[in-house]
């Protein structure tokens, strides 16, 4: 009885561990397109006129990208903190 409970706990930890790792991977993979989009926006801003309306749209997009990046960063930091804590917990419960 104790053994099967312990096995179930271990399985649950493994599942959480897996989900956590996949989430961190996704967060990290997200940085790459965000980085590229930000660079393309910069390139577009370089080629567009100072008073163009499109410039405003691009600047707004850049703000949006910054916000998305900041959100991911918070999530990443939280995941890393959890990962550290998780490592300290014995999976044997």
């Amino acid at each position: 009885m104790v053994k099967s409970k312990s096995l179930a706990t271990t399985k649950r930890y493994k599942r959480i561990d897996y989900i956590g790792k996949r989430s961190v991977d996704i967060i990290n993979e997200m940085y790459s397109p965000i980085d590229s989009i930000n660079r393309f926006i910069n390139l577009a801003l370089d080629t567009i006129g100072e008073n163009s309306q499109s410039r405003q749209f691009l600047l707004e997009s850049k703000q949006g990208i910054r916000k998305a990046s900041a959100l991911l960063k918070r999530l990443d930091d939280y995941a890393k903190k959890l990962e550290k804590e998780f490592k300290e917990i014995s999976p044997r419960g």
Binding site: D25, N28, E29, M30, Y31, S32, P33, I34, D35, S36, I37, N38, R39, F40, N42, L43, D46, I65, S69, D76
Partner: protein
């Protein structure tokens, strides 16, 4: 016109395209490769000033290997989505110039590239040595060299590695006989995981050497307070290197012959016969046939040892390896001394190539170590070399100009003698200090002193 050539390697299409456009706009000449192997091929064809390596979590090991290979050719800037301290440290250790985590501002990338270029530009003509850094096929289990003679040695090692044959290595002091023994041991599939034990037969008195080789039992002699295993027992299953085999006393040569023939021996003070399975490698810098003629070495032992004979050439006979070796040692000692050495000047390489190297690779290693420590501008130049290199070269040239036609060996011996004398003078004729400074053991130094008939003024009187 392009400021500098940059290669963008790896990464997804979006990332590559955005970097390409941004760098082109900033005046760089940019090429893109989709994979790491493709990047390596491109680097072999074109000299890039910097490489931006984009990496993912997967394939980290392959990535680090690429960094290791590429860092000698171009400055590497790593661009990754995975901000991981361990990976950053490994990358920098492998030779990466900078490590940037996405998302990263364009200014930061440009700044990193410019710093990388400045650090390389500091050595305009001088960084040629980086192009000659030892590649995988130019080294063999720690042996460095791309000359035909070294390639032949690698082939022989490969052929005999898995045999049980005893090997006799000859060659001047400092040529790397010990490294050959190591290479043989590491190449031997059966023994590589077992001990590699070495002993210098020249550095110890007769009583100690017997006990060191074969072990002793408690009470076998004064001071034998415990049973002790000898080197042969320690090496059981592995390899033993008997360095300076010519110095082994005659009675112990008989005992060694028995080990060679029957793989058995007794500890000092014991009757119990022990059996071992050891590959024996012997080395010497002396002419063993001459030692046989002088009754200092047993002929039967010589033939037993000389199943496979390997001759390690002196450095002056493989000058094409000097640049590779110098670069190899610079890398080692720059790391060891935490010095950011960018390269070796062309002048220095020319000087090193023209020197006669009486102390062989060991002397080159010592001189490079000294140069790395003394260097102040991150480029090893002629000013970092000791005077002996310049005097030694001149001395040798003068020797060749002599009217009396000497043999090559005589001509080569002259600078060696001059160098030994100079070092002895420097250390006040302290043989121990001189041997350390010359990078040879004391027995070798004594042999050289005998050979060149060198004695101090005090000894003459």
């Amino acid at each position: 016109m392009d400021k500098n050539k940059i290669l963008i390697a790896n990464g997804d299409r979006l990332s590559q395209k955005s970097l390409y456009e941004m760098l082109c706009r900033n005046g760089y000449g940019v090429d893109i490769t989709k994979s790491l192997p493709e990047a390596l091929n491109r680097l072999n064809e074109i000299a890039y000033n910097a490489v931006i390596l984009d990496t993912h979590e997967a394939g980290k090991e392959e990535f680090l290997k690429t960094v290791d290979k590429v860092s000698s050719k171009s400055s590497i800037i790593i661009l990754t989505s995975y901000g991981n301290i361990e990976f950053a440290v490994s990358s920098i250790k492998m030779g990466a110039f900078d490590y940037l985590v996405k998302p990263v501002e364009d200014e930061k990338i440009i700044s990193s590239i410019e710093r990388a270029l400045t650090s390389r530009a500091a050595v305009p003509v001088k960084d040629i040595s980086k192009k000659t850094a030892p590649q995988k096929d130019q080294t063999y289990h720690g042996l460095v060299g791309d000359s035909q003679v070294m390639r032949d040695i690698y082939t022989i090692i490969g052929r005999i590695a898995n045999s049980r044959a005893t090997v006799l290595m000859c060659g001047e002091s400092g040529t790397g006989k010990r490294l050959i023994a190591h290479a043989l041991h590491k190449s031997d599939k059966k023994r590589c995981g077992r001990p590699f034990v070495e002993i210098s037969c020249g550095g110890l008195p007769r009583e100690i050497i017997e006990s060191e080789l074969f072990g002793h039992t408690k009470g076998a002699f004064t001071g034998a307070i415990n049973d002790r295993k000898g080197r042969f027992e320690m090496a059981d299953g592995g390899t033993i290197l008997l360095d300076d085999i010519d110095c082994l006393p005659l009675d112990l040569q008989v005992k060694l012959l028995r080990v060679l023939q029957h793989k058995e021996f007794e500890r000092v003070g014991d009757n119990k016969t022990l059996k071992v399975d050891v590959r024996i490698i012997a080395s010497t810098n002396q002419d063993l046939e001459k030692a046989i003629a002088e009754k200092r070495f047993r002929e039967d032992l010589y033939y037993r040892l000389n199943v496979i004979s390997l001759h390690m050439p002196p450095l002056r006979e493989r000058k094409e390896d000097i640049a590779l070796l110098a670069e190899h040692f610079v890398e080692i000692y720059a790391k060891e001394n935490h010095k950011p050495i960018n390269g070796i000047s062309k002048d220095l390489l020319d000087t090193l190539t023209h020197y006669s190297w009486p102390g062989n690779v060991r002397q080159l290693e010592n001189i490079i170590e000294r140069a790395v420590i003394l260097d102040t501008d991150n480029v090893i130049g002629k000013e970092d070399l000791p005077d002996i290199i310049f005097n030694g070269t001149a001395g040798m040239n003068n020797g060749i100009k002599h009217d009396i036609i000497s043999s090559l060996r005589d001509v080569m011996q002259e600078p060696e003698k001059i160098y030994i004398l100079r070092v002895l003078e420097e250390v006040g004729w302290n043989k121990k200090k001189a041997a350390t400074k010359l990078g040879v053991n004391r027995t070798t130094l004594y042999n050289k002193l005998r050979k060149y008939n060198i004695t101090s003024g005090a000894e003459k009187n």
